[in-house]
């Protein structure tokens, strides 16, 4: 079978520009699902995705489309996440495509994340089809958006398709453009098989399932396949495509997209980015992978109940299969016991993982404050990387510290330029450049310490610009900064899980704010609890949680013991989410207090 009737494509869009709605409409239009079967936004299948309106996991769906030439084409839509945290996932999806729909909101125009993803697509040599969506909005201005696409991105937008996914306008034009403009995958069906694993998932019955794009050769049921990374062999038990329901097939031909089940028990044997070949006729080289995920944010994850440690490890292992960007390794905290240091693509990624662990694996977790990865140059010439504040060596052993910097691009209406500058300056940013995108919008570039962005930069940005700003950032390297470790002492004892690394000049301010916040969060106990923030031996802030108050004596009406008991049960329930550290009971949210302080 030739590849000439296959098209592999993805959709690039900023959050809320209508990517999921467009995907739904394409599925509906090609009759893959009847209207009745359509659940709003089919592709966002995780609960979390639907609740937050974001797409986290790459997914694929096969559409059959009879084009104007009367022939039937197989269109494989590979979904991509839109959030800045997940550009790594985008790059995985892009590696499986030959083309992309660039969806831009007809009213809002080009946003920072759109830009970032378009550049990624261009790096992968994808054919890009601009689609201007939501043209039926009263505020739509497609001509201006076309100019923006041309001026800012440098793409020819004269053929941009005007569409409204919501109202079904332009959907046929899009399907035709996919067939006409996006190249068919190159036909390498005669070569030894090579299939790129761009995603994977664990199924308790079928084992690890690989989502693949067959680049060369083909895969058939009962083939013995080899994972080129681990050199392990497996027999294919099932092949399938998504319509979007799973449809079993006997073969995944060259150029196609589908999934492979091969009784792979160990999730580590099915790594995203690995290449599948056949054991009897192996390819010589694996396919080039793609940009490896770089963890930007680290935090400790600990089970509230130490008995859940094993469960947490199993859960992380399972999640890791679906989310290669998640890194984790065991660590111990004096305060919290056994847990894991985890690396994430960003704060949203961290949130999502934490929520999935709690929801899907029913774990109660304590998350420590996020940190970035510091390079510590020691006086003995050694260089170590520190992503856990508790591990920062004592000052006497440190020559200097380097912290990660990002290039942050913000696109914002011009009225908010002042607010962005003030915020970025406040976050130790270095102004780089500013450009007008059109008469009303500006793109501002700052170099900022990543460590400042992960605190409250997003929230501050949103409130300073009434939500109009869009932000994208990429790591640009490390710069020397006078960073110090700030310890938090509760009742005189340092609590390692509360330590943070902070710029020397900001230690006092942040220490005060943190101590104040902790005072709010730590409930009164039967003794007074001093809270101290210290840099080395110097106390920079001090607060006190007063001893608890008395109970209110309540009348026991006519022997109503059940009422008394309910009150006690409520009180007991409140205690459950506390972690006893030494003699102090600390609620979960205290470990994240640093994220909630006002600077």
């Amino acid at each position: 079978m030739s590849t000439s009737h296959i098209r592999n494509f993805c959709i690039i869009a900023h959050i809320d520009h209508g990517k999921s709605t467009l995907a739904d409409r394409l599925i509906e239009e090609t009759g893959s699902l009847t209207k009745r079967e359509m659940q709003a936004q089919v592709l966002d299948s995780m609960d979390l995705e639907r609740e937050r309106g974001i797409t986290i996991k790459a997914q694929s769906v096969r559409l059959l489309h009879t084009a104007k030439d009367g022939q039937e084409y197989t269109l494989n839509l590979i979904d991509t996440p839109g959030h800045v945290d997940f550009s790594y996932e985008v790059s995985r999806s892009l590696a499986a495509c030959e083309g992309a729909l660039l969806v831009v909101d007809a009213a809002q125009g080009v946003e920072a994340q759109t830009l970032a993803n378009v550049y990624l697509a261009l790096e992968h040599d994808l054919e890009i089809i601009p689609v201007i969506n939501k043209i039926d909005l009263p505020s739509a201005d497609p001509e201006r958006v076309k100019r923006e696409i041309e001026d800012v991105i440098g793409l020819d937008a004269s053929d941009a398709i005007l569409a409204s996914a919501k109202s079904g306008i332009g959907i046929q034009d899009i399907l035709e453009a996919i067939v006409e403009k996006i190249p068919a995958p190159p036909d390498h069906s005669d070569k030894p098989a090579r299939a790129l694993i761009f995603d994977s998932r664990f199924d308790s019955y079928k084992g690890a399932i690989a989502y693949v794009r067959v680049q060369e050769g083909s895969l058939k049921v009962k083939d013995t396949i080899r994972m080129m990374h681990s050199s392990k062999d497996f027999e294919v038990t099932e092949l399938g495509v998504f319509t979007p329901h799973l449809l079993p097939v006997q073969e995944l031909p060259c150029g196609s997209v589908g999934c492979v089940a091969a009784s792979i028990k160990n999730v580590r044997d099915c790594r995203v980015g690995d290449t599948i070949t056949k054991a009897d006729n192996p390819a010589e080289e694996p396919l080039p992978g793609y940009r490896k995920a770089v963890s930007m944010v680290y935090c400790g994850l600990y089970p509230t109940d130490s008995k859940d440690y094993e469960n947490l490890r199993d859960a992380l292992e399972k999640l890791n299969l679906n989310d290669a960007a998640l890194e984790y390794e065991a660590e111990t905290s004096l305060a919290l016991g056994f847990g894991f240091r985890c690396g994430f693509l960003g704060l949203l990624h961290m949130d999502v993982i934490q929520e999935r662990l709690e929801r899907e694996y029913n774990l109660s977790l304590i998350t420590t404050a996020p940190s970035v990865n510091y390079k510590v140059y020691k006086t003995n010439g050694e260089v170590i990387e520190v992503d856990n504040p508790a591990k920062l060596p004592p000052p006497t052993e440190i020559d200097y510290v380097e912290e990660p910097y990002v290039k942050a691009t913000t696109i914002v209406p011009k009225d908010y330029v002042g607010a962005i500058m003030e915020l970025s300056q406040d976050k130790r940013g270095e102004y780089i450049s500013m450009e007008y995108i059109d008469e009303s919008r500006v793109s501002i570039v700052y170099h900022l310490p990543l460590g400042e962005i992960i605190y409250d930069y997003f929230d501050k940005l949103k409130s300073a610009t009434k939500g109009y700003a869009s932000l994208d950032y990429e790591l640009i390297g490390y710069q020397q900064s006078p960073m110090v470790k700030m310890d938090i002492l509760l009742n005189g004892d340092p609590v390692d899980a509360l330590s943070i690394i902070v710029h020397k000049d900001r230690a006092q301010l942040r220490g005060r704010a943190l101590a104040e916040k902790l005072k709010e969060l730590i409930p009164r106990q039967n003794f007074e609890i001093p809270i101290q923030a210290a840099v080395g031996t110097k106390i920079v802030a001090r607060e006190t949680v007063k001893a608890w108050r008395k109970d209110v004596l309540a009348k026991c009406y006519g022997g109503d013991i059940s009422r008394k008991r309910k009150l006690l049960e409520k009180q007991k329930e409140g205690k459950k989410r506390m972690k006893a550290v030494g003699s102090v009971e600390i609620p979960q949210e205290a470990f994240m207090a640093i994220l909630k302080v006002e600077n």
Binding site: N526, L553, G558, G559, R565, E569
Partner: protein, 386 residues
């Protein structure tokens, strides 16, 4: 002290009269104003319930009868007499029975009190929440401070030797001086029992609405705590013995009836909203007057909620209730009652609470320290294992 001699006695009987001339702003108990038309028919239903329960309750004696409310003294002496006659006719009543009645000052004159005493009622508990008139008015109490003092004197005069009052601290605008004044009045009156409560704002009370719309301002938590301390200390100075977290008695004048609640004795409640604890069953009658009467008229049980108390709840309840009293939690009683090893279950809880100086162990019993009494709910909640 011989801790195995907790004055629990036999079983107790509670009789609820759910009527008040006027509902207090803070009250969320089953009590209604404006139902005067139902007094007679309610009392009749009550007697029917008392009679018809005989077959279920057997012949074991009762050594306490407690008329609670609401305001039991809204009923006529004749009506109360009929109820007591029914009780005596139907059940075995110990010769040394303690019969308590709750009463509102200002609604009972000397003659009425004398009649109560003649009925064999030997303990009276007045709802005197404070001796300041302005505070009484805010709470929608129907009497003045002077009437309250007079009621206590009158009760004593007609022969009552067990007289109790309630006091609430933390009232709107209340200060430490007010508490001091209340203590002075208490000292001057011939009473030997006091129950103290903190004012609590319960949902769906008038007080709740008043606090929500700021028409009533409550004292700060700090000053409430000061009032509590002052009151507890003041009563102890007057030789009141704190035999239960909220109850103080002089010269052994303890409420025998209430002790049953804390030490796992059986009690049977009659009337709307009354609670019972029999064996391993806790049950409750409907709190509404008309449905209660209706159930009785139809020959149905007025019980609307029933729980079978199984392990571990039975022994958890036993522990946290026993800790409320000065007799405390006696491991040997626990073990003979539940056939379980006390320290095996609660060893670590006890150790932790003793380390925090909330519990002490003396004379074979665990008891709350002064600090423990202040934070009783925390201590009690530690005994819930499930």
């Amino acid at each position: 002290m011989d801790t195995t001699r907790i004055p629990v006695g036999d079983r107790g009987m509670y009789i609820h009269i759910p009527f008040c001339r006027q509902k207090c702003t803070y009250c969320d108990f089953p009590s209604y104003q404006g139902l005067e038309d139902y007094f007679d028919v309610y009392a009749y239903a009550l007697r029917q319930e008392i009679e018809s329960s005989q077959s279920l309750l057997g012949t074991d004696p009762f050594d306490t009868i407690y008329f609670g409310g609401g305001t039991p003294t809204v009923l006529s002496i004749k009506e109360l007499n009929r109820i007591l006659e029914t009780v005596y006719k139907t059940y075995t009543i110990s010769s040394d029975v303690e019969i308590t009645i709750e009463a509102n000052p200002g609604e009972v004159d000397t003659q009425y009190l004398r009649h109560l005493y003649e009925l064999g009622i030997n303990r009276i508990s007045f709802g005197v929440q404070t001796f300041r008139d302005d505070h009484l008015r805010v709470l929608h109490r129907t009497h003045t401070a002077k009437m309250a003092q007079q009621a206590v004197l009158d009760a004593h005069e007609v022969g009552f030797r067990n007289i109790s009052i309630d006091q609430i601290y933390g009232l709107p605008q209340q200060t430490l001086e007010d508490i001091a004044y209340n203590l002075e009045v208490i000292q001057s009156l011939p009473m030997n029992h006091i129950s103290i409560y903190g004012l609590q704002v319960e949902p769906s009370t008038l007080l709740h609405r008043q606090v929500t719309d700021h028409s009533v301002i409550l004292p700060s938590e700090d000053s409430c705590e000061q009032m509590y301390d002052y009151l507890v200390e003041g009563l102890e100075k007057q030789m009141f013995d704190r035999y239960e977290i909220a109850s103080f008695g002089k010269d052994g004048a303890f409420s025998r009836h209430n002790i049953k609640y804390w030490h796992g004795a059986d009690y049977i409640g009659f009337g709307a909203g009354a609670h019972s604890f029999v064996g391993n069953r806790r049950f409750q009658n409907t709190p509404y007057v008309v449905p209660y009467i209706h159930h009785i008229e139809m020959g149905e049980s007025p019980c609307v909620e029933e729980e079978i108390i199984t392990s571990p709840r039975d022994y958890e309840d036993f522990c946290f209730l026993a800790l409320r009293t000065k007799w405390g939690l006696v491991p040997s009683l626990f073990e003979s009652r539940f056939k379980l090893d006390f320290h095996n279950i609660y060893g670590s809880v006890i150790a932790d609470l003793m380390r925090k100086q909330l519990l002490v162990y003396e004379d074979d019993a665990y008891r709350l320290t002064k600090e423990g009494a202040k934070h009783g709910n925390y201590v009690f909640s530690q005994f819930l294992t499930s």
